[in-house]
Symmetry: C2
Subunit: 386 residues, 2 copies
Amino acid sequence: MFEYTLIAGDSNTAARAGVFQTPHGTLRTPVFAPVGTQATVKTLTPRDLRETGASLVLSNTYHLYLRPGTERVRDFGGLHAWMGWEQPMLTDSGGFQVFSLAQMRKLDPDGVTFRSHIDGSLHRFTPESAILSQESLGADIIMCLDECAEPLDRKYNEEAVARTHAWAARCKAAQSRTDQALFGIVQGGIFPDLRIASARTLAKIDFPGYAIGGLSVGETKAEMYATLDVTTPELPADKPRYLMGVGAPEDILEGVARGIDIFDCVLPTRVARNGGLFTRQGRLNLRNSRYAADPLPVEPGCDCYCCQNFSKAYLRHLFKAEEILGLHLATIHNVRFMIRLMKEVRQSILAGTFPAFRQRFLAEYEVPNQAARHAQLEARKQRKQA
Amino acid sequence: MFEYTLIAGDSNTAARAGVFQTPHGTLRTPVFAPVGTQATVKTLTPRDLRETGASLVLSNTYHLYLRPGTERVRDFGGLHAWMGWEQPMLTDSGGFQVFSLAQMRKLDPDGVTFRSHIDGSLHRFTPESAILSQESLGADIIMCLDECAEPLDRKYNEEAVARTHAWAARCKAAQSRTDQALFGIVQGGIFPDLRIASARTLAKIDFPGYAIGGLSVGETKAEMYATLDVTTPELPADKPRYLMGVGAPEDILEGVARGIDIFDCVLPTRVARNGGLFTRQGRLNLRNSRYAADPLPVEPGCDCYCCQNFSKAYLRHLFKAEEILGLHLATIHNVRFMIRLMKEVRQSILAGTFPAFRQRFLAEYEVPNQAARHAQLEARKQRKQA
């Protein structure tokens, strides 16, 4: 169980294709996991999801802990049975959401105390309770409780890395189920020495897989890619590597090129519900009046149910009329877009043509609002330095 | 085209089973039409809808006229192509919605002028424009522009019936397409003499089908049933009869017993989105805490995708967590419930057992909030009489 087999590696980049065995099936990596925060990938049934070709679904322990409660899910046979998804699942530890609560949480060496965003009630996560919760949920891949620090704050990252390592060891010790792969999480912000040390420390603890956390949380894309450049070479080559919370199409290509095997992100499903649809040329906004009479599908040639059956004009109508069906169809397309992209990425690695595929994709795909995003990050940096 | 064939009549009631030919297929009556107001049955794809067994879908001319515009739909090949529904469709005239606008519309003998509920812009419907709009939409069954009066107001109903008849003749004269069945609409509130006169007048104009309008809009159920008792015997036996806007399960049984062939109602889909799920015992509310740990489906034995795959506990979780998937699954169940009910009703008519079926159904099915509904209607009556 949990064997990672390297099938092919690209000779010009660190890209690699593999298979990872889990109790609910084999993952063909690189793989993208749609996010089902509250035990549902928003707007999709399990059969819709299966039809997109998705093989791995992520769900969030923090949300499920609060509602319906991890014990309720356990009593129903775990997440797979609870939500009707029979293929591999992954849960995070809940730590990321708790640390995002800012004023509503208090950290100590043993764990973190926080108030529910739903009703303000008081709760506590420790490394041991995070494992217990995830054992109740029963996903195939589970995560250590870690601390995700502001990526540009050196001092905070030094403390967070130390705590993350101590908690990683405690998580491993707390694990009682043998049918779940517990991943360690590398932290260290954008600081190469911290990242390298974190990767080496966790590798020594010896996990069946490694995640890279604390990225795509405020640093520039260049900083994220540079951090991956120094981190993945330090991780064991015979274990899968998971880049947490990253999933913009351009970042997937860059992550794969740096040796990442697993991705997850709310982006495809969240932007779909805002009318943002992925195409190989970039993201289009269905609310744009230019689509009011457009008889073509979102992406001609796409094999998803949305593109096979509906015009952009009809989809735009659904969004303008605030019809739920619009959210549903847009989500189907974006998830299918990501799954098909991953399949093509993997095929290109197997065929030895990944560098050309990456170059062609990035040349064709217009990254949205790059300038605006960069200005925003620069302003943030300057505030930090001031 | 548009031939109605009577297959079997119940010997104890006016219930009847028939077939009605339309350009997009044969309707087996009695039939229930889910409502797709804005060219989508809320939360369902056409394939979901097909899976429920639905054969007829209603869409609203008023809404489509305002958004995306009936000409836009025409340019896309009509409603069937626009929304991807290949089976029979029915559109109303738009009159009912306009008359519901109250302060925002002004009536004259030639038509009605109103303001859009979306942007306040000024519009006008006449019998001729209502037909033109519906010819653009291209449904198989279309409706005359009529006036739906307050059911208990004698004087208003006398005027409204006269206008409805004049407009019915103008609608028939305005029709240019031969592939749409234009139905006349009987009005007259709860007044037997007005209803009888209305049915006879419209029968003389000679339509391929007849609708009964102005019911389920404020009168008691007893008043509605009594009105049907006097109306349907006046309608030609060789034409289908459509009871507009009625679709509570108990009303379907009573309507069928009085010779109705076609029903439509937003109730099953609307209450689904509020967590109200139909069962043969009555309506259950998924938000109720009693279902928090209930491992059973909404209706054990139900063949819908929702009941075949999910527990009440999971569905309740989706509603509590405000997940769109909950609305989708609940809608699937309620539409399937209605379609299966209609199928069983029809089979019982064919088998000669409709009276027993009706009695058994009504004995088992608890009508929700009957007392509260009745008190409300009584209060309304007294205000009218005061």
